[in-house]
């Protein structure tokens, strides 16, 4: 499946330029975090790489067929989308789509519902969960399929510290299984805790792509330097 190679990527929406042109390579096991101010194109980059946003120009190539690659990747949205089903059924849903047997789907869902601490309320509607619980469930619903590539769009935005730690622990555990992660965030602390490398986007342009340590010590982009020190990036 890897590497994922994006070449000359350009995205426009309603005639307005949103992203690119940019080139990017993602290798197996990478944990890349995308930083950048609001409107810099973080979500657009994630959605484009995942294949759910049309490109104006350029190409995204996996080293396997498009259809096969789509089955091996999952996306967690900033605002979790819950199916109007129980917590448990939300977990079994992607497995049953992939023709996993009922018994295996139930066994995995039982394991995961315990792992995310929602066992006591697994039969209530997922739409009744709190924001943090929804996000944990959305992440578990993605991870239960053991994806090779996981895209996350600010998964811990507006969550409290405890839930953020729980989500980060889930992400760390899935990277041990070899899942490659690409995630956007505004949280510089989170980037330091999780990322192997950091992409800095500004106004749709990839201004830097560096290892985490070097990004925070010697950012190649003046705007990234401003972002790290909390200055306003124009």
């Amino acid at each position: 499946m890897f590497p994922l190679i994006a070449e000359n990527l350009v995205v426009e929406f309603n005639g307005k330029h949103i992203l690119g042109p940019l080139d990017l390579t993602v290798n197996k096991g990478d944990i890349s975090l995308i930083l950048g101010p609001n409107g810099s194109g973080k979500t657009t980059l994630l959605k484009s790489l995942h294949g759910i946003m049309k490109l104006k120009r350029g190409s995204i190539k996996w080293s396997c067929s498009d259809n096969s690659s789509m089955k091996k990747q999952m996306f967690v949205f900033q605002t979790p989308i819950m199916l109007r089903r129980s917590v448990f059924e939300n977990l079994t849903y992607p497995l049953l789509l992939r023709k996993v047997s009922n018994s295996k789907a139930h066994r995995l869902a039982t394991e995961w519902v315990e792992k995310i601490g929602l066992k006591e309320i697994m039969h209530i509607s997922a739409t009744r969960l709190s924001g943090g619980e929804k996000q944990k469930l959305a992440l578990a619903r993605a991870l239960i399929t053991e994806p090779e590539m996981l895209f996350l769009d600010e998964p811990s935005a507006s969550l409290d510290g405890k839930t953020t730690v729980e989500i980060e622990n889930l992400l760390k555990s899935c990277t041990k299984n070899g899942t490659t992660i690409m995630m956007s965030t505004h949280d510089i602390g989170q980037a330091k805790r999780l990322a192997k490398n950091i992409l800095f986007l500004n106004k749709g342009i990839l201004e830097s792509n560096q290892l985490t340590e070097t990004f925070f010590l010697e950012p190649t982009s003046p705007n990234a330097q401003k972002f790290i020190t909390g200055e306003i990036v124009e």
Partner: protein, 234 residues
Amino acid sequence: MNDIWYGILQAFQLIYTLDQDLIDISVRSLQVTLSALVISSLFALPLAAVLAVKRFKFRRFIIALLNALMGLPPVVVGLIVYILLSRSGPFGVLDLLYTTAAMVIAQIVIITPLITSIAHQSLRELWSEYHDLLISMNTSHIQRIKTLLWDARRALLTASLAGFGRAIGEVGAIMIVGGNIDNATRVLTTAIALETSKGDFALALALGFVLILIAIALNLATHWLSKTEREGRW
């Protein structure tokens, strides 16, 4: 005024003593309407889901047409179905005119646009909620349609109940194609019209009360379903 009170008293007596004519007509009415409802729902609900999920040429036209057909005059439907089923019509060979089958066909024509339009409204809202998630999970059109139909089942039941309400209270079309034949095609509404014209207010009112009871039961069921939906009990 005395006639009305006398009629009401007699009506209660007919209901209390379970008058055979009253029972026969009520049961036939339910048989015709439920048959039309089931057959119509089998067409209307998947069609509504397809219109919500798929983008194709003439989609907007079909939606507009269905909305317009919601207000189709039943007498005109009755007339068209009559012409189609009459001996000189294209389906005359089936010998369906003046049978309950003809009444079912007329009711299907009347309620299918109504059920489709109401169901489409609900499914369109659910699709806008699920769109990103189901696209990102690489679901097929069939999987999307199945998911929407299952997760919106309460709202779809409400749509079907609206169709039931329209069909059970319909008189013009089924009078034309059914002929209001005693012990054969006489149903609640056509019987009420006949008994009123004969001046037998007692039976007409009794039939009217049964019709009202069914309508109330229907509204209570709809209210209960909407309430559970709002409370997020899926």
